[in-house]
Symmetry: C3
Subunit: 349 residues, 3 copies
């Protein structure tokens, strides 16, 4: 009985088969197993305790796992922490919540309702979001040890709250540098307005551990509107990356437009279009069309099938390709059009 009230075990297992007709740098196709297509595969522990007077204590520990290989996902910094996604504790009340530890930043969370594919783990702007905030991608020594792809933050404190139709959060990650409280810090903000339309806004920046320069600046804007079985969504984010000395490395704009159609109670089609370009490197540009269907076998189990067509310009190669990729491994061919088809199963517990 005690276990039920104090801790919940939960998770997601999602894996499928992916077929593509070309690969990076080659006209050869490939068939692979791909974990986490619809949503990230995880296992975790969470719970909360009622402290009286509306006050609650809560915690969350969450691993990011690969169901094809059994391993942990790495963070963007060469390590694979057991609880990469969540390792935190906090207090909540009518005033909102305060969370301490490793956690989701508020910026990405603000756009879940406006991103055309709700940041699905394959074929969405989750990857342009993440890879442009990947610590190691910046040249010139840029480095922020608290940043995990602009989504998860270490050593962080977050306030979240709701004011009328607006929900949001603000997060600060402690830089932990002697003599300089600013260096290595992160500030992140995300807001969502939910009314007849849904509007989202976010901004976050990461400062270099040595120089204190902003080596990542990231801003997002989105809107969505639902009409019966239809939902229309548009989302934009800009990533501005700099070297340790503050000189610009890249400036990537990503626009996504999409529509969901719940064409029967157990099925939803999503069509989305993404344009991603690095304004500092004009030939690094992709245009992407994604058509997917989800079939709900139950609330907990979904089958999915997705087609993605990636038209990549000649500069979208090597690590540059990561900046403009909506594909998890950027395995499309530059200067060509690559088609991907994947299908699989998603199960929550």
């Amino acid at each position: 009985a005690q276990a039920e009230t104090t801790v919940q075990i939960y998770g997601i297992v999602d894996t499928g088969i992916q077929v593509q007709n070309k690969t990076a740098g080659s006209n050869d196709g490939r068939v692979s197993m791909n974990t986490s297509n619809l949503r990230q595969s995880v296992w975790g522990l969470r719970g909360s305790e009622d402290l009286g007077n509306g006050l609650k204590a809560f915690f969350n520990l969450e691993s990011h796992i690969a169901v094809d290989t059994g391993g942990l996902f790495g963070d963007g910094q060469g390590e694979s922490p057991l609880f990469r996604r969540q390792a935190n504790v906090g207090l909540s009340g009518s005033w909102g919540s305060i969370t301490l530890g490793r956690q989701y930043g508020p910026a990405l969370l603000a756009h879940v309702a406006t991103e055309p594919r709700a940041f699905k783990e394959q074929f969405s702007s989750l990857y342009t979001w993440a890879y442009n905030q990947l610590e190691s991608i910046n040249g010139g020594g840029a480095n922020n040890t608290n940043d995990d792809v602009g989504i998860f933050m270490k050593n962080a404190i977050q306030y979240r709250g709701s004011y009328g139709p607006v929900t949001g959060g603000i997060l600060y990650a402690l830089g932990e540098q002697a003599g300089d409280t600013s260096a290595n810090s992160i500030l992140a903000l995300g807001l969502t307005y939910t009314g007849p339309v849904t509007l989202s806004f976010s901004h976050e920046y990461m400062k270099d551990a040595n120089t204190g320069e902003k080596v990542v600046e990231h801003t997002g804007l989105g809107a969505a509107v639902s009409l019966g079985d239809w939902a229309f969504k548009g989302n934009f984010h800009r990533s501005d990356n700099s070297a340790e000395d503050g000189s610009r490395v890249s400036k990537v704009d990503v626009l996504g437009l999409g529509v969901d159609w719940k064409w029967n109670p157990n099925n939803m089609v999503t069509v989305a279009y993404y344009d991603a370009r690095d304004k500092e490197n004009r030939s690094n540009h992709t245009k992407n069309l994604v058509i997917g269907n989800e079939t709900y076998l139950s609330k907990r189990t979904t089958l999915y099938a997705t087609l993605a067509v990636v038209d990549a310009d000649t500069g979208a190669t090597g690590t540059q390709a990561l900046r403009t990729s909506i594909v998890n491994d950027a395995s499309f061919r530059a200067g060509s059009t690559t088609s991907f088809f994947n299908f699989g199963i998603h199960h929550n517990f």
Copy 2:
């Protein structure tokens, strides 16, 4: 209440003391703590969901742990995935089951009922099975990244089903190589007939990631019969290992014969004999006698004591010794007879 219906936590903790009178290359004995003697130590999460019409979704996540040191077991490829043994999701029905992800192959499973010691984690042909399919043991660059000692497979799809008295499965691990769907793939098959006698058959092969040559071919045959409190078992497996270019590296034949005697309701004695030889290296040959007793304190807790005598020929040294070893670390002395005694406790939860 939710936790009970959607996820089960389970595990095995098994550890004991092992005494041996010689060690590899020395007449010095050793006393050590040995995790996983009767069965592998694990912890895991599993669950299933009824989707209606006899269809079920299921998942399994399972770690392989060392109870003597607290760490994870490595795969055969230099890594220690959190969920080395199981990380998969699938669907099942009256037609059988389909499983996607990292999983047990069907070959070993086919022989659990016919292997003289049911592939116990110490002193059984589990090790000749595993070490002859250890990715790193092959010379000449042989490499299959999906193979974990011929028992666990990454990026795999398996169908399992029962047809009358025959139960079995067929697994295919996707090679994931561009331009060649065959390279790096695994095909594995296992069948068990259960009737007045139990018969088992398996075959599996792994193809090289570069050349596509079959660098491992492995075949097993077994039979068992129960007569009251007695069960007689015989099992044979052959491992054929090749270099990347297809030239043979080793050809190991392992024969095991044994008898179980449940001499009282809470005790079972097993006597087994194993002969393991590499036909490509005739002096790599062991003859092994194992006598063990299990005392069941409950359905979940067992005490065990096992004596193993290993008579190893002169070629059973170094990594060669792994090929013909029924001992987990091949720590017997070549050209001599080494005796092992271990005892310990096994507990399921």
Copy 3:
């Protein structure tokens, strides 16, 4: 229902903010997030089974986690085992208990009731205990692979029992060396008398893996007495470290004196003083004053605030500073006085 009776999931998440006015080697201060201030952050699985006649089987698997970063804590030997703290199985009865596997040694456990701050994870003699038994800190090749900071032992067997007012345990870790059962072994003993006063005693030593010399010898003595809402405590431990050849490396004496005052039902103040010195290196000496308050929001959730003032002599620098440090990262300035203030939240599940 089964999950409830056979396995319990439990844990601690504890994190807070730490402000300090100086750092090692600098007058620059720092603000950081610090996991595990009051107690270690962990998650674990444990359970027991009634075997009848008063006999029980039990197991425990416990991870040591960092809530600020999501990762696992390392052992003192460059690895981060999944279950660093506990990975064991055993039997218990009216005669006591026998535990096999990785486990807490009995020495530290004996002093929990007499150490002035009950070995809190920040600002206590937990660190002088641990760092003077850190495998890697010894010069001259000293090495014991079973030792994890004198607290956790691998490959260990422990008997624990109670005789009247005396509770205690004795542990032996198997050296596992061929031809020498003594080399690499650990012997640890801890006893606590609980009466009008509480008295504690412990002794443990670790032998070198190569030479069999005692490279760590550690002895502790403590006493505590409770008077109403007050508890007075005194604890002493001596760590004697040697090189592989048996020549002395350091001899560290640590004295702690403290008082707990439960000044209202939901609050307790602790004031403690620690003196730590290396008699082999007289300038490596710290004097430490710690004042902390705990506020109990519930049985499971505590807020805390702690002030620590560290007066360190000139020799307390680099790895030497670890020997005389009650601060988890020894980040005080030698030849100066450093103040630390931390506050945070502690939650059990």
